[in-house]
Amino acid sequence: MPDQSHVGRRYEARGQVVDAGRAGAMATAIAGPATAFEPHAVPPTFAAVYCLAPTLAQVFTDPEVGVNLAGLIHGEQAFEWPARARPGDVVDASAEITDVEEKRGMTFVTLRFEAARPQDGAVVCRGRSMMIIRGQA
Protein backbone atom coordinates (compact mmCIF):
# COMPACT_ATOMS: atom_id res chain seq x y z
CA MET A 1 0.00 0.00 0.00
CA PRO A 2 1.16 3.56 -0.60
CA ASP A 3 2.76 5.23 2.41
CA GLN A 4 4.65 8.41 3.25
CA SER A 5 7.88 6.98 1.82
CA HIS A 6 6.33 7.20 -1.66
CA VAL A 7 5.79 10.96 -1.52
CA GLY A 8 7.92 12.65 -4.17
CA ARG A 9 7.86 9.71 -6.56
CA ARG A 10 7.56 11.00 -10.15
CA TYR A 11 6.23 9.40 -13.31
CA GLU A 12 6.61 10.64 -16.88
CA ALA A 13 4.70 9.85 -20.02
CA ARG A 14 6.18 11.74 -22.93
CA GLY A 15 4.74 12.06 -26.41
CA GLN A 16 1.03 11.74 -25.63
CA VAL A 17 -0.97 12.49 -28.78
CA VAL A 18 -4.22 14.44 -28.39
CA ASP A 19 -6.17 12.25 -30.80
CA ALA A 20 -9.01 14.07 -32.56
CA GLY A 21 -11.11 10.93 -33.04
CA ARG A 22 -10.84 9.92 -29.41
CA ALA A 23 -11.53 13.48 -28.20
CA GLY A 24 -14.66 13.48 -30.37
CA ALA A 25 -15.68 10.10 -28.98
CA MET A 26 -15.36 11.51 -25.46
CA ALA A 27 -17.44 14.58 -26.38
CA THR A 28 -20.14 12.25 -27.69
CA ALA A 29 -19.93 9.99 -24.63
CA ILE A 30 -20.36 13.02 -22.35
CA ALA A 31 -23.36 14.29 -24.30
CA GLY A 32 -24.93 10.85 -24.73
CA PRO A 33 -27.31 10.46 -27.64
CA ALA A 34 -27.75 14.24 -27.76
CA THR A 35 -25.60 16.29 -30.06
CA ALA A 36 -22.29 17.02 -28.41
CA PHE A 37 -21.55 20.63 -27.54
CA GLU A 38 -18.69 21.70 -29.83
CA PRO A 39 -18.18 18.21 -31.30
CA HIS A 40 -14.84 19.18 -32.84
CA ALA A 41 -13.35 20.66 -29.68
CA VAL A 42 -11.20 18.72 -27.23
CA PRO A 43 -13.38 18.35 -24.12
CA PRO A 44 -11.58 19.92 -21.13
CA THR A 45 -11.79 16.64 -19.22
CA PHE A 46 -10.02 14.87 -22.12
CA ALA A 47 -7.02 15.66 -19.89
CA ALA A 48 -8.01 12.34 -18.31
CA VAL A 49 -6.64 10.69 -21.47
CA TYR A 50 -3.50 12.67 -22.32
CA CYS A 51 -2.44 13.51 -18.74
CA LEU A 52 -3.99 11.30 -16.04
CA ALA A 53 -4.28 7.88 -17.69
CA PRO A 54 -0.72 7.42 -18.99
CA THR A 55 0.86 8.53 -15.72
CA LEU A 56 -1.63 6.85 -13.39
CA ALA A 57 -1.09 3.60 -15.29
CA GLN A 58 2.53 3.76 -14.10
CA VAL A 59 1.54 4.65 -10.53
CA PHE A 60 -0.95 1.78 -10.38
CA THR A 61 1.58 -0.74 -11.66
CA ASP A 62 4.53 0.50 -9.59
CA PRO A 63 5.28 -2.66 -7.57
CA GLU A 64 6.93 -0.65 -4.80
CA VAL A 65 3.78 1.46 -4.28
CA GLY A 66 1.37 -1.49 -4.53
CA VAL A 67 -2.00 0.17 -5.09
CA ASN A 68 -4.93 -2.17 -4.44
CA LEU A 69 -6.92 -1.40 -7.59
CA ALA A 70 -9.97 -3.35 -6.39
CA GLY A 71 -10.35 -0.88 -3.52
CA LEU A 72 -9.64 2.29 -5.51
CA ILE A 73 -12.06 5.23 -5.51
CA HIS A 74 -11.56 8.58 -7.23
CA GLY A 75 -12.21 11.04 -4.40
CA GLU A 76 -11.51 14.47 -5.82
CA GLN A 77 -10.28 15.97 -9.06
CA ALA A 78 -9.06 19.44 -9.93
CA PHE A 79 -7.95 20.67 -13.35
CA GLU A 80 -6.52 23.93 -14.61
CA TRP A 81 -6.14 24.58 -18.32
CA PRO A 82 -3.63 27.44 -18.74
CA ALA A 83 -3.49 26.80 -22.52
CA ARG A 84 -5.75 24.76 -24.79
CA ALA A 85 -4.88 21.29 -26.00
CA ARG A 86 -5.70 21.04 -29.71
CA PRO A 87 -6.33 17.96 -31.83
CA GLY A 88 -3.01 16.59 -32.99
CA ASP A 89 -0.99 18.17 -30.18
CA VAL A 90 1.79 16.04 -28.72
CA VAL A 91 2.28 16.63 -25.01
CA ASP A 92 4.57 15.41 -22.25
CA ALA A 93 2.70 14.41 -19.10
CA SER A 94 4.08 13.94 -15.62
CA ALA A 95 2.72 13.03 -12.22
CA GLU A 96 4.06 13.18 -8.69
CA ILE A 97 2.75 11.62 -5.49
CA THR A 98 2.49 14.63 -3.19
CA ASP A 99 0.76 13.20 -0.11
CA VAL A 100 -0.22 9.89 1.43
CA GLU A 101 -2.40 9.78 4.52
CA GLU A 102 -4.00 6.97 6.53
CA LYS A 103 -7.47 7.73 7.93
CA ARG A 104 -10.21 5.46 9.20
CA GLY A 105 -8.55 2.39 7.72
CA MET A 106 -8.31 3.96 4.29
CA THR A 107 -5.34 5.38 2.40
CA PHE A 108 -5.69 8.83 0.81
CA VAL A 109 -3.20 9.45 -1.98
CA THR A 110 -2.83 12.90 -3.53
CA LEU A 111 -1.09 13.33 -6.86
CA ARG A 112 -0.24 16.38 -8.92
CA PHE A 113 -0.06 16.33 -12.70
CA GLU A 114 1.14 18.51 -15.50
CA ALA A 115 0.97 18.21 -19.26
CA ALA A 116 2.97 20.56 -21.48
CA ARG A 117 3.41 20.94 -25.22
CA PRO A 118 7.18 20.85 -25.85
CA GLN A 119 6.67 22.52 -29.24
CA ASP A 120 5.95 25.89 -27.57
CA GLY A 121 6.34 25.15 -23.87
CA ALA A 122 2.65 25.80 -23.17
CA VAL A 123 1.17 24.03 -20.16
CA VAL A 124 -2.15 22.58 -21.36
CA CYS A 125 -3.18 21.03 -18.06
CA ARG A 126 -2.33 21.02 -14.38
CA GLY A 127 -4.19 18.55 -12.24
CA ARG A 128 -4.63 17.28 -8.73
CA SER A 129 -6.24 13.94 -7.93
CA MET A 130 -7.15 12.52 -4.57
CA MET A 131 -7.55 8.76 -4.67
CA ILE A 132 -9.00 6.72 -1.81
CA ILE A 133 -7.86 3.13 -1.40
CA ARG A 134 -9.85 0.77 0.78
CA GLY A 135 -8.62 -2.57 1.98
CA GLN A 136 -5.24 -4.27 1.80
CA ALA A 137 -3.07 -4.78 -1.25
Binding site: R22, A25, M26, T28, A29, I30, A31, G32, P33, A34, F37, E38, A41, V42, P43, P44, T45, A48, V49, A53, L69, A70, L72, I73, H74, G75, E76, Q77, A78, F79, E80, W81, P82, R84, R128
Partner: protein, 139 residues
Protein backbone atom coordinates in the same frame (compact mmCIF):
# COMPACT_ATOMS: atom_id res chain seq x y z
CA UNK B 1 -25.30 30.23 -27.37
CA UNK B 2 -23.27 33.38 -26.98
CA UNK B 3 -21.13 34.14 -23.99
CA UNK B 4 -22.45 36.60 -21.43
CA UNK B 5 -20.41 39.79 -21.52
CA UNK B 6 -18.29 40.18 -18.42
CA UNK B 7 -19.91 43.53 -17.69
CA UNK B 8 -23.34 41.88 -17.43
CA UNK B 9 -22.31 39.01 -15.12
CA UNK B 10 -23.17 39.52 -11.48
CA UNK B 11 -22.53 37.60 -8.28
CA UNK B 12 -25.58 35.40 -7.79
CA UNK B 13 -26.13 34.70 -11.51
CA UNK B 14 -26.97 31.04 -12.08
CA UNK B 15 -26.00 28.56 -14.78
CA UNK B 16 -28.81 27.11 -16.81
CA UNK B 17 -29.11 23.70 -15.08
CA UNK B 18 -28.00 20.80 -17.28
CA UNK B 19 -29.89 17.56 -16.61
CA UNK B 20 -28.74 14.33 -18.21
CA UNK B 21 -29.63 10.68 -17.75
CA UNK B 22 -26.48 8.57 -17.86
CA UNK B 23 -27.26 5.23 -19.47
CA UNK B 24 -25.08 2.13 -19.35
CA UNK B 25 -24.49 2.64 -23.09
CA UNK B 26 -23.15 6.11 -22.34
CA UNK B 27 -20.91 4.74 -19.58
CA UNK B 28 -19.62 2.08 -22.01
CA UNK B 29 -18.94 4.77 -24.61
CA UNK B 30 -17.06 6.80 -22.00
CA UNK B 31 -15.03 3.73 -20.99
CA UNK B 32 -14.10 3.25 -24.64
CA UNK B 33 -13.15 6.91 -25.12
CA UNK B 34 -11.23 7.23 -21.86
CA UNK B 35 -9.70 3.75 -21.71
CA UNK B 36 -11.01 3.30 -18.16
CA UNK B 37 -12.66 -0.13 -18.12
CA UNK B 38 -12.70 -0.52 -14.33
CA UNK B 39 -15.32 -3.26 -13.82
CA UNK B 40 -17.32 -1.10 -11.36
CA UNK B 41 -18.37 0.88 -14.46
CA UNK B 42 -19.03 -1.88 -16.95
CA UNK B 43 -19.63 -5.18 -15.10
CA UNK B 44 -22.87 -5.27 -13.08
CA UNK B 45 -22.05 -8.56 -11.32
CA UNK B 46 -18.69 -7.19 -10.19
CA UNK B 47 -20.23 -3.90 -9.04
CA UNK B 48 -22.82 -5.70 -6.91
CA UNK B 49 -20.15 -8.03 -5.52
CA UNK B 50 -18.19 -5.04 -4.19
CA UNK B 51 -21.28 -3.60 -2.51
CA UNK B 52 -22.56 -1.10 -5.09
CA UNK B 53 -26.22 -1.03 -6.14
CA UNK B 54 -25.05 -1.60 -9.73
CA UNK B 55 -22.55 -0.24 -12.20
CA UNK B 56 -21.71 3.42 -11.66
CA UNK B 57 -20.69 6.26 -13.94
CA UNK B 58 -17.05 7.33 -14.08
CA UNK B 59 -16.58 10.37 -11.85
CA UNK B 60 -14.79 12.03 -14.74
CA UNK B 61 -17.83 11.45 -16.97
CA UNK B 62 -19.96 13.36 -14.45
CA UNK B 63 -17.26 16.03 -14.30
CA UNK B 64 -17.36 16.16 -18.10
CA UNK B 65 -21.11 16.87 -18.01
CA UNK B 66 -20.49 19.61 -15.46
CA UNK B 67 -17.73 21.04 -17.69
CA UNK B 68 -20.21 20.98 -20.58
CA UNK B 69 -22.76 22.94 -18.53
CA UNK B 70 -20.09 25.56 -17.82
CA UNK B 71 -18.94 25.59 -21.45
CA UNK B 72 -22.51 26.16 -22.67
CA UNK B 73 -22.88 29.05 -20.23
CA UNK B 74 -19.53 30.55 -21.25
CA UNK B 75 -20.18 29.99 -24.98
CA UNK B 76 -17.12 27.78 -25.45
CA UNK B 77 -15.13 25.11 -23.64
CA UNK B 78 -12.09 27.28 -24.38
CA UNK B 79 -13.28 29.72 -21.74
CA UNK B 80 -13.22 27.19 -18.91
CA UNK B 81 -9.99 27.89 -17.01
CA UNK B 82 -10.31 25.53 -14.06
CA UNK B 83 -12.70 23.07 -12.48
CA UNK B 84 -12.51 21.06 -9.29
CA UNK B 85 -15.00 18.70 -7.65
CA UNK B 86 -15.35 16.07 -4.97
CA UNK B 87 -16.93 12.78 -6.07
CA UNK B 88 -19.16 12.49 -3.00
CA UNK B 89 -21.66 9.81 -4.07
CA UNK B 90 -21.68 7.39 -6.96
CA UNK B 91 -24.15 7.84 -9.82
CA UNK B 92 -25.73 4.49 -10.69
CA UNK B 93 -26.16 3.63 -14.38
CA UNK B 94 -29.52 4.88 -15.61
CA UNK B 95 -29.50 7.68 -13.04
CA UNK B 96 -30.00 11.32 -13.86
CA UNK B 97 -27.78 14.15 -12.76
CA UNK B 98 -28.51 17.85 -12.73
CA UNK B 99 -25.55 20.21 -12.78
CA UNK B 100 -25.97 23.67 -11.34
CA UNK B 101 -23.76 26.63 -10.60
CA UNK B 102 -23.79 30.12 -9.25
CA UNK B 103 -21.39 33.02 -9.74
CA UNK B 104 -19.64 33.83 -6.47
CA UNK B 105 -17.04 36.34 -7.67
CA UNK B 106 -16.31 38.49 -10.71
CA UNK B 107 -12.82 39.82 -11.30
CA UNK B 108 -13.35 42.55 -13.88
CA UNK B 109 -9.64 43.35 -14.17
CA UNK B 110 -8.72 39.76 -15.03
CA UNK B 111 -11.96 38.99 -16.88
CA UNK B 112 -12.62 35.93 -14.72
CA UNK B 113 -15.86 34.75 -13.13
CA UNK B 114 -15.70 32.21 -10.29
CA UNK B 115 -18.62 29.84 -9.77
CA UNK B 116 -19.63 27.38 -7.09
CA UNK B 117 -20.86 24.28 -8.91
CA UNK B 118 -22.39 20.93 -7.98
CA UNK B 119 -24.45 18.04 -9.28
CA UNK B 120 -27.33 16.18 -7.67
CA UNK B 121 -28.88 12.88 -8.73
CA UNK B 122 -32.54 11.98 -9.23
CA UNK B 123 -32.18 9.98 -5.97
CA UNK B 124 -31.61 13.29 -4.22
CA UNK B 125 -27.93 12.57 -3.61
CA UNK B 126 -25.30 15.25 -4.01
CA UNK B 127 -22.95 13.38 -6.35
CA UNK B 128 -20.51 16.22 -7.12
CA UNK B 129 -19.81 18.61 -4.25
CA UNK B 130 -17.24 21.23 -3.22
CA UNK B 131 -17.20 22.29 -6.87
CA UNK B 132 -15.45 25.43 -7.98
CA UNK B 133 -14.86 26.71 -11.50
CA UNK B 134 -13.25 29.73 -13.10
CA UNK B 135 -14.39 30.99 -16.49
CA UNK B 136 -12.81 33.64 -18.69
CA UNK B 137 -15.25 36.17 -20.06
CA UNK B 138 -14.72 39.13 -22.33
CA UNK B 139 -16.29 42.52 -22.90
Amino acid sequence: MSAPALSTVRVGDELAPLTRTVSQEQINAYAEASGDFNPIHVDADFAVAVGLPGTIAHGLLEMGILAEALSRWAGSADRLMSLEVRFSKPLVAGGTITCTGRVVAVDEAEGIATLDVEAVSDRGERVLTNGRATVRLSG
